[in-house]
């Protein structure tokens, strides 16, 4: 009977693992959760590191190491991995993704997709790793936002903001969204 209990415990744990994998890694909700976990956990000890410092394959090996260091759960680790992967292209320079030139995604959708509120507050919600996005277009100017999204390190070499693979249409949509 004791052995049966042990086996059922094992079964429950296996099911738990199964539930972690059930969510698709490109799910925008998972990416947003990953951005939040990235913002909340990395900066507890050190500057958050931009996604482009490692390849997707390297991140998949580095994240389990950081999961142990930061006491992240398996779900959080997978979400962080999904977030980092969502910001990387196959191009080692992480160049902008011109395949999406004719994007139909709205600024709001893009802000959610790229997990911006993982690090930035917007209308009272979001992380505090980066500055608030409320009135950012008015305060910093459209050119600044454009430059920041194209090259996050243009004004600060130590910026941890990922260089997102977004098209010019994406950037314009985000600026329009943030302006309103």
């Amino acid at each position: 009977m004791k052995l049966i209990k042990i086996m059922f415990t094992f079964l429950a744990l296996t099911l738990n693992t199964f539930s972690i994998q059930a969510q698709h890694v490109s799910d925008p909700e998972l990416v947003a959760e990953g951005a939040k976990a990235y913002s909340e956990n990395c900066a507890r000890c050190h500057n958050a590191r931009p996604a482009e410092e490692y390849s997707k394959k390297e991140w998949s090996v580095v994240i389990p190491h950081m999961r142990a260091k930061a006491h992240m759960t398996g779900k959080e680790a997978l979400a962080v991995e999904a977030f980092l992967a969502s910001t990387l292209t196959a191009d080692v320079r992480n160049a902008r993704d011109y395949e999406n030139r004719t994007t139909t995604r709205s600024g709001a959708e893009l802000v959610t997709q790229f997990g911006c509120q993982g690090c930035h507050q917007l209308k009272g919600e979001g992380g505090k790793l980066g500055p608030s996005l409320d009135n950012v277009v008015i305060n910093r100017g459209e050119t600044f936002i454009l430059n920041k999204l194209m090259d996050p390190k243009f004004n600060n070499a130590a910026s941890a903001m990922p260089k997102y693979p977004m098209s010019e249409e994406d950037i314009k949509a985000i600026i329009d969204f943030l302006r309103n």
Binding site: M1, V25, H46, G127
Partner: protein, 395 residues
């Protein structure tokens, strides 16, 4: 009946396990890797007046370098292997090599990680997570820590502990932002340094144990993400060769991280039982004694990022200040072989300015001043005001 249930359970578990693997492959948009190399390194220039080397010769300045690669290997979704090597040059220009840790993580479930091998003990935060030079905001270690950067005339009261054994880590979610982290481990434990009576306590992983007693310890922390983490650690083990002298230590750590500033610190205390013998009358033996030898210390460190001022040229600039204080029972009145620096009490203050070249590469300029309260407790006293220039990087 039992056999049928058991067989069904096993079959179901295996099926679900296979399904899990299949689903992971099917649904994952990630590129799964096997090997990665991370790590850190630094080059440090130290200037100190009246600086001496280990043989007492004058040294005008000192440049040391370290390269600390971490080898990471993902065997499966459940098993992860990691090893950190430290290559460094000492003051004599010789290369030193040290295995910081080498262990295997088994991700038992979503919340539990079992680690076996040689690992950094989760005792406080500095030793386990914060000591790498690109993470440590200062160019030197807090005054309570010995080694790993040197502590000059003020010896540390503890160290960056690693040992061989097993650790079970758990994470408990309490709402959206609350987390409880627990670590419980058993390791080979402390050992007695060379010396006939009351030799110092050495906490360093070595082949085999010097007694048949394992050490136990753990850390319980509460984090309110992303800003707060407060932890309490405890460690206990027998250190003498015959296993009848104990060493106990505690650590209370806290960490606050804001958008532009951070404050972190630790309070440390330890008690080591020591034994000795009173001087006897002429050739006779005196009375034997066992005393508790206490060491205590604390540090607090604050940082502030100048990017808060909104000036673009100040974005990479960060200021650091740290204060450390240590004390111990040793006043030189007891004749035993505890390490020379172990008995000193004093304080140390560090001021620094950092210039971040990348999120994980920093140029640090720092000045450190030390006051020793009980110079009589040591055989030699070296003025310990130092200036650092350090380039530290994580990779």
């Amino acid at each position: 009946m039992k056999k049928v249930i058991l067989q069904s359970a096993v079959a179901t578990a295996i099926s679900i396990s296979m399904l899990t693997s299949a689903t992971a492959q099917e649904s994952s948009a990630l590129d799964i890797g096997r090997l990665a190399i991370a790590g850190y390194g630094d080059v440090t220039y130290i200037e100190q007046s009246n600086m001496k080397d280990e043989e007492g010769n004058d040294v005008q300045n000192n440049v040391v370098a370290r390269f600390v690669p971490i080898f990471l290997f993902q065997m499966s979704e459940k098993i992860h292997i990691e090893a950190e090597l430290e290559f460094s040059t000492n003051a004599e220009g010789e290369t030193e090599t040290e295995l910081e840790y080498a262990n295997m993580h088994y991700f038992y479930n979503d919340n539990t990680i079992i680690t076996a091998g040689k690992f950094l003990l989760p005792f406080g935060q500095f030793g386990a997570n914060l000591h790498p030079s690109w993470i440590n905001k200062a160019a030197s270690n807090p005054g309570i820590y010995g080694g790993h950067g040197g502590n000059g005339a003020l010896g540390g009261v503890t160290g960056i502990w690693n040992d061989t054994g097993i650790n079970i880590a758990n994470t408990w979610n309490l709402g959206d932002a609350g987390r409880v982290f627990t670590d419980f481990y058993t390791v080979s434990g402390p050992r007695q340094e060379e010396g006939d009576h009351g030799g110092g306590v050495e906490i360093e992983s070595k082949k085999g144990d010097n007694n048949d007693s394992m050490a136990f310890g753990g850390r319980i922390a509460y984090a309110f993400l992303p800003e707060w983490e407060i932890g309490m650690s405890y460690y206990s083990g027998a250190y003498s060769d015959d296993g009848d002298l104990d060493y106990n230590a505690y650590n209370i750590d806290f960490n606050w991280v804001g958008s532009y500033a951070s404050v972190r610190g630790e309070i440390f205390g330890s008690t080591a039982e020591t034994e000795g013998e009173e001087e006897g009358e002429e050739e006779g033996h005196g009375e034997e004694w066992v005393k508790d030898f206490d060491k205590r210390g604390w540090y607090i460190q604050g940082t502030w990022q100048a990017r808060q001022l909104g000036k673009a040229w100040l974005n990479p600039v960060e200021f650091v200040v740290r204060y450390s204080d240590i004390e111990s029972d040793f006043d030189g009145s007891v004749d035993h072989d505890f390490e020379e620096d172990g008995g000193k009490t004093g304080s140390r203050v560090y001021y620094g300015v950092n210039y971040w070249l990348e999120p994980s590469a920093v140029l640090k300029l720092g000045a450190e001043s030390t006051s020793i309260d009980n110079e009589a407790a040591s055989h030699t006293t070296v003025p310990d005001d130092r200036i650092f220039l350090q380039l530290a990087f994580g990779f």
